[in-house]
Symmetry: C2
DNA sequence: AGTTGATACCATCAATGTTGAGGTATACGG
DNA sequence: CCGTATACCTCAACATTGATGGTATCAACT
């Protein structure tokens, strides 16, 4: 797919939080979820993915627990905490404001 | 203004290129342009601004020339090169695709 | 037995925005 | 006419975060 896009720094966490907002998942599933949910635009590299998960675990936005995947493999399941849910809300609205502001600038007419 | 937003890494250049697409400007004016054009959402810190300008100058997207500002001050005027104009196009469309992809993910329904 | 795919982790690197400090020159209030 | 604010530029140190690339385990399929 030549349609892939690299991530702008700061957006990965939002996508991950959003994936987890559908219920507990292991990292591999999160990556698949984001890839498929974005129609292949975002391929999530596990290097970045797990760092993001660990980061958010430390911040208390998600909880981690070892378990067994559908394929019978040892896998770590992540789940949103209430704080994580709140963080997702905040980040989502921040993202929306951001996108509007960029749109404003891009559409701005010439000024004196 | 508590409405200010920090920049996601990777977006500053687009805003700067867009500002310059209206004609040559010095750095200070670029910052003002972006701040006003975004209704105060983006306050551009000069540390980042001038680094961005120098970066893009090196890449050949903009040309720099010393001159005198409206206030009679020594100022450096930046102007888009054709390469810079092309870069702006590309980045703008990349940004649009990016925003759509994020929206896709954020709106994605739960999946198996 | 060997390869592929599922699943996780880590260290190093690169890009880029933030912070903060410094420098000059013009303008403007007192 | 002096001082302070404002216009304008530069740079170095730092923090965050995604990319790269290498490692490890184990199931399933050939």
């Amino acid at each position: 797919m030549p349609n892939e896009l690299d991530l702008f720094q700061g957006t990965l966490d939002i996508l991950v939080l959003r994936a987890l907002s559908h219920g507990p998942m292991h990292g591999y599933a999160v990556a698949r979820w984001i890839r498929e949910g974005s129609d292949g635009t975002f391929r999530i590299l596990d290097g970045a993915l797990y760092t993001s998960l660990h980061r958010m675990d430390e911040k208390g936005w998600i909880d981690a627990e070892w378990g067994t995947s559908e394929r019978g493999k040892r896998a770590r399941f992540y789940e949103l905490t209430p704080a994580g849910r709140a963080e997702l809300q905040q980040r989502a609205s921040r993202w929306d404001r951001y996108v509007s502001a960029v749109a404003l600038v891009m559409a701005a007419p010439a000024r004196a």
